[in-house]
């Protein structure tokens, strides 16, 4: 079989130059430099804004005297679909029911927020927080002290002025 040769002509200089495309791209870039509607954020220098119903890691509210608000009623471990809450109730020296052990495994948690919803004394909350890097897995089991230490804002699962969304 004879070898056939197909000759391809070089494109014209104006078309083969990348200058046109480069300029086109750069014009977009420069337009964005001056565009007031920029979307890029300098995270983590600039913290992200979270939606008010963002459900992040938990936080336990405390009374003014430092006691946890939790009364160990057992509703959150009951309602928790991921079974990540361990609770052992007991009585403190003032005769109040309180949690001797309260642990949340943040790895098992699916952040549904049902614990906050079910809590009759508004003690446990999911929070506006998601930066949870740790060196060990064990550190993700938050015990009572750790939950009480958390300072991030809590999640508003409902509008306080319209709790039943009516």
């Amino acid at each position: 079989m004879a070898i056939s040769v197909k000759v391809i002509r070089r494109p014209e200089a104006a078309r083969s130059s990348y200058l046109r495309a480069a300029l086109k791209g750069m014009s977009l870039t420069f337009r964005h430099m001056v565009n007031p509607r920029k979307v890029t954020r300098s995270y983590p220098e600039e913290p992200t804004e979270l939606h008010p119903r963002w459900r992040g890691t938990h936080r336990m509210e405390v009374h003014a005297d430092g006691r946890p608000k939790c009364v160990a009623c057992g509703l959150c471990p009951t309602v928790c679909p991921a079974n990540c809450i361990r609770l052992v109730g007991g009585e403190d020296d003032q005769g109040n029911r309180y949690p001797i052990v309260y642990e949340i495994d943040e790895f098992r948690c699916i952040f549904c927020g049902m614990c906050q919803e079910v809590c009759p004394v508004e003690a446990i909350h999911v929070g506006q927080h998601f930066e949870n890097a740790e060196y060990t897995r064990e550190r993700f089991v938050y015990d009572l002290d750790r939950l009480m230490e958390q300072e991030h804002p809590v999640t508003a699962l409902w509008d306080p002025s319209d709790p039943a969304s009516e």
Binding site: V71, A72, C73, G74, L75, T78, G89, G90, E91, G95, N96, R97, P120, V121
Partner: protein, 486 residues
């Protein structure tokens, strides 16, 4: 016996004459809410919750004391009856603290159930609630006056059943509250735990169970109380493989609705964590753990070689099946005396209102079963002593279940073969050639024979630790292999 036929909620039901409307409704599966009425106690008809609408009657009738009449038409679940109940329930909640989250009764509370099913969704009260706080009634009982619905079941139990009227209602109207006389309290009562059971709300709670577990977390296993030979039918309430409490299970032939405080309080031993978890065999080189197969094979060999007399020590805490299997094995290897030791209280503690029931002298559940299987009780009333002959045995020695707590460490050291089957490690079993782990009654199925010679079945409430097996399985396997079967 003459019967009457009446209509309840549109269904015709025929009941014996004299039956209350509440029971007649039960016949057709209608539960009329009630507090003060309890099947075993008198009916004062004071809670006003069981009011039903009877056609022709001038006003709603309390169904717990109204006798069924021929041709009566009763409505329990609509119109007037429902309105009545809704109103009565609202009255109950006027002073109720609504502290369900911290109340131990929550989940098994009749007030909670009724209000949820037919009460008002929101309270209308604006006045401050009356506050009593809590009171220690002595014994195992705590009283939360705010939660009380004044059904007086507890007062009537102490009066009619325990016949030791130490509770009463003091004050009147909305100040009325249950109280004890001065500081006497319930501390001398042996039956006070029952008032916690019959309290329909969380007013009377058990100190032992206080804040320990939520009612809905507990698994209930039908069982038999292992603490005396009365054999009260109980439910073992467990959570996460831990026994949290014993509750009586109704059996009109044995214990009615009741059980004693002694039986109720002795359950912690079922949660003991010091357990034998694997079969151990002592050879020349010390102890080894060859697993069940190896241990039973070598025990079988040793049993075949033994020619000396056979002694066995059983326990009246073992089930009929365990004891029968032991008897079978002993017969198979030549027969011998089986003895058991069991604790005995100085006297019985009867429940006067229910003569069939008493905390019996025998503090083991199966002394009657052991007796019937031809076993001989030895030793004193504190379950000690009496084993001198056995300890000196030079033949085969089998111990089942007895912890030998009073025996010296060289117990059975002269025996040619000493096999110890137990749940807990026993220091006196140090000379044993075989230490085999068996389950407690709470971890196995079986029967006890009670003082009335009634054989009662119990079911496993806990998972056995390690590779512990029911004793009847171990002994049965041995007997079978000795008999040449597989």
């Amino acid at each position: 016996m003459s019967t009457v036929t009446l209509t309840i909620d549109g269904q015709r039901v025929t009941v014996p004459e004299g039956t209350s409307l509440l029971h007649a409704a039960e016949e057709i599966g209608v539960e009329v809410p009630h507090y003060c009425y309890h099947a075993a106690l008198s009916a004062p008809a004071q809670c006003r919750l069981c009011l039903v609408d009877v056609e022709g009657a001038p006003k709603p009738m309390p169904s717990c004391v109204t006798q069924a009449q021929d041709g009566q038409v009763v409505r329990t679940d609509e119109g007037l009856a429902r309105e009545m109940r809704k109103g009565v329930l609202e009255f109950y909640l006027i002073n109720h603290p609504l502290d369900c989250p911290i109340c131990d009764q929550s989940g098994e509370c009749k007030l909670q159930d009724y209000v949820h099913s037919e009460g008002r969704a929101h309270g209308r009260g604006v006045e401050p609630k009356r506050v009593f706080g809590r009171d220690d009634f002595g014994g195992d009982v705590l009283f939360y006056g705010d939660r009380c619905v004044m059904c007086t079941r507890c007062v009537r139990f102490m009066e009619e059943m325990a016949q030791d009227p130490v509770l009463t209602v003091v004050e009147r109207g909305d100040r009325a509250v249950i109280d004890t006389f001065f500081e006497q309290g319930l501390k001398d009562s042996s039956w006070s735990g029952n008032i916690v059971d019959i309290c329909p709300v969380g007013a009377l709670v058990s100190k032992d169970f206080l804040h320990k577990a939520r009612a809905w977390d507990l698994d209930h296993t039908p069982s038999v109380c292992p603490n005396c030979s009365q054999g009260c039918n109980v439910d073992i309430h467990t959570r996460d493989n831990v026994v949290h409490r014993l509750k009586p299970r109704e059996n009109p032939e044995v214990n009615g609705h009741w059980m004693c405080d002694y039986g109720r309080g002795h359950y912690e031993w079922m949660n003991r964590s010091d357990r034998i978890e694997e079969p151990f065999v002592r050879g020349d080189g010390g102890w080894s753990a060859p697993g069940w197969h190896g241990a039973l094979a070598s025990l079988r060999e040793r049993l075949q070689d033994c020619r000396g007399p056979v002694h066995a020590v059983a326990s009246a805490h073992a089930s009929n099946e365990d004891l029968a299997a032991l008897r079978e094995l002993v017969e198979r290897i030549g027969g011998g005396d089986i003895v058991y030791r069991s604790a005995r209280a100085p006297d019985e503690v009867p429940l006067p209102g229910f003569p069939m029931l008493a905390r019996r002298r025998d503090l083991a559940p199966n002394t009657r079963g052991a007796e019937l299987l031809g076993m001989r009780r030895v030793g004193g009333d504190d379950a000690s002593g009496g084993l001198d002959e056995v300890a000196a045995s030079t033949g085969t020695l089998i111990v089942l279940g007895d912890e030998l707590a009073d025996q010296p460490e060289d117990f059975g050291s002269r025996a040619e073969l000493f096999a110890y089957l137990g749940a807990h490690p026993a220091p006196a079993a140090r000379s044993a050639h075989f230490v085999l782990p068996v389950t407690t009654f709470a971890e196995q199925e079986g029967t006890f024979t009670n003082v009335q010679t009634r054989v009662q079945r119990f079911e496993p409430a806990l998972r056995a630790p390690g590779s512990a097996q029911p004793a009847w399985q171990v002994l049965g396997a041995l007997t079978a292999s000795l008999a040449g079967e597989r």
